[in-house]
């Protein structure tokens, strides 16, 4: 495409290496170094954060220290290479899938153009096949005969500081969304390769603060922000005031840490303090009150999100275990989970082998419809959208969908509930029951093929905003399409990270599109007994027909 004539004519500045990667056309990928510049990397973990994790899980988080990503000295331990090779070895032995993924890629390229980071940045190392090669090349060098003998000819290379830098750059430009795996004929899941790479990076203390700190907070106080029980409770109760203002009703069904409740409700903590999650939370509370559910919220397991997933499987296990410990302590029968992302990924894919089966709980059964959720027979945990869709199917909710008439809604399948647990239809059934205007985005951008928000797996941090906007371009582009075509003004989703990251994404790419949780739409539509006539939605926006 870039022919030489144009090349000659072009300004010198146009041909200089891209600042993003230092990539110069025509070079083999192995010869293109990763160059860190402000804006293309996440800030490293604070010393005290790494120290905290090290104390709890010795040996997994490397030496705690203050280090700078742009420096040529990351203050690594002297034997860092051995630690890494040993780390790979242990994981090859422990995780069969890792070994298979290292061996069986035929480089067919089916995955190459399926990653939102490649589609948004145009950086070849963001092609899933190349991303995996970053690690696979070292694997070949150390663990395969061909690699040992033929070296680079067999796609092998030594572990060097340059390789380490590359790992830190590109395994933090993967949101573990699994879109690539949908297209791989061998089912290679690059997300799991990224997980392994990040585990290994953590072993030598190469980490990001945006992940270490929320994980530390979650471990210590129960949620990402480190909200202590009283603050958490106050925040949640504050939202009862808002509900009262909108509906005229003072709900009294919300309780905390109540022993003997039938159901433990676990939410992503952002739902009690961050806009627009708080409106989703108001939706949950209205729903539970509407059906008279016997539930409680734990202020200790006040976080569904599991940033352990982005560090290593030990921390992931620990954070996941917390929910079950609380369920046991409170003596509930089963767990209901809110609109969260990676909580569900961990639960669906890893919980059973890590902390399960949760035999001390009962197989979830809806107290309203009697439906037994067989899909949750082992984890004992049901998704709020499954639960709500079941209520709707059995006609148990009084709804006025016209209260959402001011919204033209589309639905973003968040990677974790969609590809991570296969929940595709339930949220749509709910939306269609509570809204009159629903429009799907194009087929190759939803359901199994959904595009990531571009900021998952702990990449939702401000210092890489440019990168996030690029990674989110494929999603934003599809939203733009339905906005232009149908006038869509609301992007709904069932993930708290998405509610935050899509908000930023829309504010940049499609500023007139708002972001909301599905339960907010439910809350708007629910006809509550004894309520006043509603003039606004849960975010105090005027309803259609009541403006002015």
């Amino acid at each position: 495409m870039a022919d030489t004539k144009v090349g000659q004519m072009s300004e010198d500045v146009v041909k200089a290496p891209s600042m993003m990667t230092g990539a110069v056309p025509t070079k083999d990928w192995m010869d293109v170094p990763a160059v860190f510049k402000p804006g293309n990397y996440c800030y490293p973990g604070k010393e005290e954060m790494a120290a905290y994790h090290n104390k709890n899980l010795p040996g997994l988080f490397g030496e705690s220290r203050t280090w700078l990503v742009e420096s040529d000295d990351w203050l690594l331990p002297e034997n860092w290479k051995e630690i890494i090779i040993q780390g790979i070895k242990e994981r090859l032995d422990k995780f069969r899938s890792f070994k298979i993924f290292m061996d069986c890629c035929v480089r067919c390229g089916a995955c190459a153009d399926k990653c939102h980071f490649f589609l948004g940045t145009g950086d070849p190392k963001n092609m899933p096949v190349l991303r995996a090669e970053l690690l696979r090349s070292v694997y070949r060098n150390e663990f395969t005969k061909a690699g040992k003998i033929l070296g680079r000819l067999a796609g092998a290379r030594e572990m060097t500081f340059g390789v380490l830098k590359e790992w830190f750059m590109y395994f933090y430009q993967c949101t573990e969304c699994r879109r690539c795996s949908v297209f791989c004929p061998y089912g290679i899941d690059t997300a799991e390769i990224t997980m392994m790479a990040r585990e290994i990076l953590h072993l030598v203390g190469v980490n990001t603060n945006w992940i270490l700190e929320p994980a530390a907070n979650s471990n210590r106080t129960g949620n990402h922000l480190g909200l202590q029980p009283h603050t958490f409770k106050e925040n949640a109760e504050f939202l009862l005031d808002d509900i009262e203002e909108v509906t005229g009703l003072r709900l009294n069904s919300l309780t905390f840490n109540r022993k003997g409740a039938e159901i433990l409700f676990v939410i992503p903590s952002a739902d009690v303090f961050a806009d627009p999650g708080i409106f989703t939370f108001m939706g949950y509370l209205l729903l539970f009150d509407h059906i008279g559910l016997d539930y409680t919220i734990s202020t200790y397991s006040s976080e569904g999100g599991n940033f352990g997933l982005f560090t290593n499987n030990e921390l992931m296990k620990k954070l996941n275990g917390k929910m079950y410990a609380e369920a046991k302590r409170l003596g509930v029968k089963w767990i209901l989970g809110g609109e969260c992302g990676h909580m569900w990924r961990v639960l669906h894919q890893y919980m059973d082998t890590m902390n399960g089966p949760a035999d001390f709980l009962e197989v979830p059964k809806s107290p309203i419809t009697g439906t037994v959720f067989e899909n949750a027979a082992s984890t004992k945990m049901v998704h709020i959208s499954e639960f709500t869709a079941d209520l709707i199917k059995h006609n148990k909710l009084k709804l006025d969908p016209s209260r959402n008439n001011h919204r033209k809604v589309t639905f973003h399948d968040s990677c974790n509930p969609a590809r991570g647990m296969g929940m595709l239809d339930e949220p749509r059934e709910v939306i269609k029951a509570v809204c009159n205007n629903f429009y799907e985005m194009p087929e190759n951008t939803i359901r199994e093929q959904t595009f990531c928000c571009g900021s998952g797996t702990g990449l939702n941090t401000g210092e890489i905003m440019d990168l996030r906007m690029k990674g989110g371009l494929p999603r934003a582009n599809a939203v733009k399409h339905v906005r232009d075509k149908f006038g869509v003004n609301t992007l709904s989703c069932v993930c708290a990270i998405d509610r935050a990251t899509l908000l930023a994404l829309m504010q940049y790419w499609n500023p007139d599109v708002e972001v909301c949780g599905v339960s907010e739409l439910v809350g708007n539509a629910l006809i509550m007994e004894g309520e006043k006539e509603r003039e606004t939605g849960l975010r105090f926006e005027p309803l259609e027909g009541s403006e002015g």
Partner: protein, 178 residues
């Protein structure tokens, strides 16, 4: 032949060359893909570039008749997050002058030469309009970042503080250190 007619006649090749100029900034492996006319949702970056570049060319050719605003804005939003300095991000815009002269060299006449300054002025005008939109996009990006900072997490955690408090503390620390 008048310049406008020549531009119309050669529209396809001129647009392709101009597009090639901007895509040429990407690594070769990516260019092959980005230049493909795939479904726009399978290749959003390539689609945004090709819509943007052909829109700009159309407006240079027909003037006000083509509503360039939204197309150019979208293209500049893309350019504004490529982590380049503004001059680097916008340099390709001027490339169209040389592309036209080069591609049309055989058809070049004295008449066209006379019309040329006006065309150049149009390109300059387009570049200035693009510059405004580019800067507006940068501004918007910072607003998004700021809003995210303000929207919660930093303000209410027990041990973190609002950004201005952090700046104040940092200043205090620097003072005591010096």
């Amino acid at each position: 032949m008048k310049l406008v007619e020549l531009l119309a006649q050669k529209e396809d090749v001129l647009v392709q060359k101009w597009l090639g100029l901007v895509l040429g900034e990407y690594p070769a492996d990516a260019v092959r893909f980005l230049g493909k006319k795939a479904d726009q949702f399978a290749n959003p970056l390539g689609h945004n570039y090709s819509t943007g570049v052909s829109g700009m060319f159309r407006s240079l050719r027909v003037g006000e008749e083509f509503e360039l605003g939204p197309v150019l804005e979208q293209l500049m939003k893309v350019r504004a997050v490529q982590e380049q300095i503004p001059s680097k991000s916008l340099a390709f815009l001027f490339g169209i002058k040389r592309i036209v002269r080069h591609e049309c060299r055989k058809e070049w006449t004295a008449e066209i030469e006379q019309e040329w300054p006006e065309f150049e002025a149009r390109v300059d005008g387009l570049a200035l309009q693009a510059f405004d939109l580019f800067m507006a996009s940068r501004e918007r990006l910072f607003q998004v970042r700021l809003r995210e900072l303000q929207s919660g997490s930093y303000l209410i955690t027990d041990h973190m503080k609002c950004p201005s408090a952090m700046v104040r503390e940092e200043k205090k620390r620097q003072k005591t250190e010096s």
